[in-house]
């Protein structure tokens, strides 16, 4: 029998107030490995892979359901209901910050607090809105992903590139992290980077913390501020960390800000 827990490869550990971590585009729950240990003592930790990523059930991927981010938001709500979680803290990175927001709007009160790491409601520049990208850039990403995931070059690569010193180890490594199916990854990229959820921000019910990195080209500072200004109850922190993944590059700083927000 497949249920929502196997569908999303849900991992549960620890005891206490529930805190649910949701990874962003490009990876899976492995992303949180530097953050999770700091919460294990006091919280019940829920990790998951979005459908289409990591070890989620590939047969659960439905183009129609996941044609918008709402499909993933519905899954998060269902997981919380299935596990009967109350007073939940939601931590979402990148696109999952938006997925959390949509789940919160769909079910006001489901999350008491939301931590949004590098959120962006709209990646494409619009009239009087700076998202950071043009439609053309996203097209470039999709084309590049296609050549990477189709593995044309990779399968020819050993000929030109020589084998790595430990091919077996390499094989295992590429398989254990951030697994994703080519077609699904491209579809998810399209849905993610072409979505526009700006209108939803004002309907967020829970209390939010926006964690913004410096020099983040995916979610620039202007976007983080925009999110903060449009969510009714929110705090904004500009971190010292640079890039798009502070939970990987600056786990300590990320943990500190999350913990003081939860106090």
């Amino acid at each position: 029998m497949t249920n929502i827990l196997t569908q999303n490869n849900v991992t549960i550990m620890g005891n206490g107030r529930p805190i649910i971590f949701v990874h962003g585009f490009g990876c899976d729950q492995n992303m949180w490995r530097f953050i999770v240990p700091a919460f294990e003592q006091e919280y019940k930790i829920i990790l998951l892979d979005l459908v289409g990523a990591g070890d989620s059930d590939p047969t659960a991927y439905n183009e129609h359901k996941y044609a918008t981010l709402h499909g993933h938001a519905e899954d998060i709500v269902e997981i919380c209901e299935f596990l009967n979680l109350k007073d939940v803290i939601f931590v979402g990175h990148s696109v999952s910050a938006m997925i959390g927001i949509l789940a919160d709007i769909q079910n006001p009160g489901i999350f008491s607090k939301l931590v949004l790491i590098g959120p962006s409601p709209c990646y494409i520049n619009k009239e009087e809105y700076f998202g950071g990208f043009e439609q053309e850039d996203i097209k470039g990403l999709l084309e590049m992903m296609e050549s990477n995931y189709l593995g044309w070059s990779a399968s020819l690569a050993p000929g030109i590139m020589g084998n790595s010193n430990q091919p077996e180890l390499q094989e295992e490594l590429t398989q254990s992290f951030c697994k994703t199916d080519a077609t699904i990854a491209k579809h998810f990229a399209r849905v993610t980077f072409l979505s526009d959820n700006r209108k939803d921000l004002s309907n967020v019910y829970g209390e939010c913390l926006v964690l913004q990195c410096r020099e983040d080209i995916i979610a620039p500072e202007a976007v983080g501020k925009y999110v903060h200004q449009n969510i009714p109850k929110s705090q904004y922190i500009l971190m010292k960390a640079t890039g798009h993944c502070p939970h990987m590059s600056a786990p300590k700083e990320t943990i500190d800000y999350i913990q003081s927000f939860l106090k």
Partner: protein, 662 residues
């Protein structure tokens, strides 16, 4: 002279390493952990047309790739590097100083110091423009040919779909017409129209089927069904056709055939329908036999052999090779003599392929043909409800108290639905557009909206969103049902998100329209003087209407065993709840009352028991306000509800009616 010692010197000297580093035919970059370039080799400088001092200490690796690809670098490449220390063979387009993008293959690794801290990143870069060009061209060619094939199938599929809608309108109209009295001659004409449009729809469905299979849309469905029932249904339908030609149609089923098997019922029905239809068509005397043999059976699976034997015209050896090709009949004269499309066998063959089986045929010209196939199917332990035909019988004035708003822009649809509304005495209003719907719904009170999805200008989704956002509770509460010819699975998420409550799939039968209306509209209120018994009876009926296993089936993935277990648990919980409600009622205990209502929250959501929820909160209010008499009455009402709820669940368990119609 010892050349080797000189060579050793060169190799180990700084010069030797430098020339190796500079001249190897691959690019090399060493950066700090954030990607800022520390060292670059000559090869890469040369490829990208940069001077060393323009790159080192100035640019980042990320500056060399286009904006879109930076997303990939930041969100996937950098993350994987951190997790596994090296990532190889990624495609990037590196941008040169001249602005030109060059496809490159990149190997990357993290360089760590002795205590495992990251000190930098290393990129080894291979240029492969040529190869990339070939790849791209190949890929494009492949894509193009696939697209052309898909476009053809799609076109056929769209055309067939479009044709189907008007034919259904014709069929529906005839069905309505037939209910009136006509002269014998008129009836005959009606029968001709009915028969012809039925044939036409079969043809169009066949075309749709074959294009669907070509596009690869069709997957084998696994659902429990009663095989014997299916076969007997076929016998009932085709027996009379055969008899009209003075041909016997005999069905032989082994006694020990499993009751319920798991498989693709619709495909099997379609294969058998095609075969039986052909057999009747090509047989003018003698008999047609459908023999089902049980070749093997275990606890879990059975192997069934289906053999259809006729005494018809048969097929010659030469012709046998072609009969499974689409649009091919064994020979031209067959089409002239018997008609048909030549699609039936081709579809059957593809369907069997889908079911991991194949068709075998033996035939001799003039002596008849035998078609055979075998299916291995799991045996299900559950009982299945067979779809009995349901006659729509509407009591006069059953729907007098409700009013429906129909929003649709297609005349044929409107005519048919209107006709049903008139037959069932349902008051309604009709508008042609979303804009008119929004105006009308604010002027009058409606109990239900039937909303076409496909409308020009404002579609059904938009219209629903607008209605839901109007000021006033009733606009959030009024049930809105989507009318659509799209596959339910394709639109159900969008329908739900736009705020609609249900989907009525076009073309629908009268019974489906009737059931949808009954499900979503309140039952008529009885006048006060009605005796209590009748009232109770009515209340009971009303409540049963709301009970549904849909959500549970969906939740538990239609797994009958799990659903049954779940229902048993609920049953026990409900029995306890009744006791607790009785205690709460007798002691006016708020604690017990609240705890038992709370316990039932998940049942309410699983069974969609919104009335129960209202009743329970009403009871809580009465208790808080000290309205004890009302509270007791409310408790009695709730207990009665629970008893009926228990009966209903018990019935579901006993009957094994655990499958719902999607």
């Amino acid at each position: 002279m010892d050349y080797f010692s000189h060579l050793d010197n060169i190799f180990q000297s700084h010069d030797g390493w430098k020339s190796l580093f500079g001249e190897v035919p691959c690019g090399y970059l060493l950066t700090d952990p954030k990607g800022r370039i520390h060292t670059v080799n000559d090869t890469l400088l040369d490829w990208l047309q940069y001077d060393r001092n323009e790159m080192e200490n100035k640019l980042h690796f990320q500056d060399l790739i286009p904006l879109g690809e930076k997303i990939f670098y930041e969100s996937r490449h950098a993350v994987m590097l951190k997790l596994q220390n090296q990532v190889n063979e990624l495609n990037y387009n590196l941008i040169g100083n001249d602005g030109i993008r060059r496809p490159m293959l990149v190997n990357s690794a993290r360089r760590l110091n002795q205590i495992g801290e990251i000190i930098g990143l290393q990129f080894v870069i291979f240029s492969f423009s040529e190869r990339k060009k070939y790849e791209e061209e190949l890929l494009n060619a492949k894509k193009q040919s696939e697209e052309v094939a898909a476009a053809k199938s799609n076109f056929l599929s769209i055309v067939s779909h479009e044709v189907r809608t008007p034919i259904h309108a014709i069929l529906n109209s005839i069905e309505i017409l037939i209910q009136d009295t006509f002269s014998a001659e008129q009836n005959e004409l009606l029968a001709v129209i009915h028969h012809s449009s039925s044939n036409l729809i079969d043809f169009v469905n066949s075309v749709l089927n074959i294009t669907k299979m070509e596009v690869g849309n069709r997957v084998a469905i696994k659902e429990p069904f009663c095989i014997e029932y299916l076969l007997k249904q076929l016998l009932a339908i085709y027996h009379s056709f055969a008899q009209k030609k003075n041909v016997d149609f005999i069905l032989n089923i082994p006694e020990n055939i499993p009751n319920v098997v798991i498989g693709d019922k619709d495909s099997i029905r379609q294969i058998l329908t095609n075969l039986i239809g052909n057999a009747i068509k090509f047989t003018s005397k003698g008999k047609i036999e459908l023999n089902v043999n049980l070749l093997a059976i275990s606890e879990e699976t059975c192997t069934l052999q289906f053999v259809l034997k006729d005494s018809g015209i048969g097929i010659s050896k030469d012709e046998l090779n072609n009969i499974f090709e689409p649009f091919t009949q064994a020979n031209q004269s067959i089409h002239q003599q018997f008609g048909g499309t030549g699609l039936g066998l081709s579809i059957s063959k593809q369907l069997l392929h889908l079911l991991d089986s194949e068709m075998k045929v033996e035939s001799e010209l003039g002596k008849g043909s035998t078609f055979m196939f075998e299916l291995i199917m799991p045996i299900s332990k559950e009982l299945v409800r067979n779809n009995e035909s349901f006659k729509v019988s509407v009591q006069l004035d059953q729907f007098r108290h409700i009013k429906i708003l129909l929003v649709d822009d297609t005349y044929s649809n409107i005519l048919i639905i209107k006709r049903y509304f008139e037959m069932w005495n349902i008051p309604f209003e009709h508008v042609f557009s979303g804009t008119d719907a929004i105006i009308t719904i604010q002027k009058q009170n409606f109990d239900l909206v039937l909303m076409d999805i496909n409308m020009p200008e404002m579609d059904g989704y938009e219209t629903t969103k607008m209605i839901r956002s109007l000021e006033g509770k009733k606009f959030q509460q009024i049930p809105i049902i989507a009318l659509s010819a799209f596959k339910v699975s394709e639109i159900k998420f969008k329908v739900k998100r736009s705020g609609m409550n249900d989907i009525l799939h076009k073309p629908f039968k009268a019974i489906q329209l009737f059931e949808t209306i009954t499900k979503w509209t309140p039952t008529q209120k009885m006048p006060d003087e009605t005796s209590l018994d009748i009232k109770k009876e009515l209340v009971k009926k009303q409540r049963y209407d709301y009970l549904s296993l849909n959500k549970i089936c969906e939740f538990f993935d239609d797994d009958p065993a799990v659903i049954k277990d779940y229902l048993k648990t609920v049953l026990n919980e409900l029995k306890v709840s009744i006791k607790e409600f009785t205690i709460a009622k007798e002691q006016y205990s708020q604690d017990i009352y609240c705890s038992v209502t709370h316990k039932n929250a998940s049942n309410i959501s699983m069974f969609n028991l919104h009335i129960l929820k209202e009743k329970m909160s009403a009871g809580e209010e009465f208790l808080k306000n000290g309205q004890n008499e009302l509270f007791v009455e409310q408790c009695n009402d709730i207990i009665l509800f629970f008893q009926q709820f228990i009966d209903w669940i018990q019935k579901q368990i006993d009957n094994g009616v655990l499958l719902y119609e999607k």
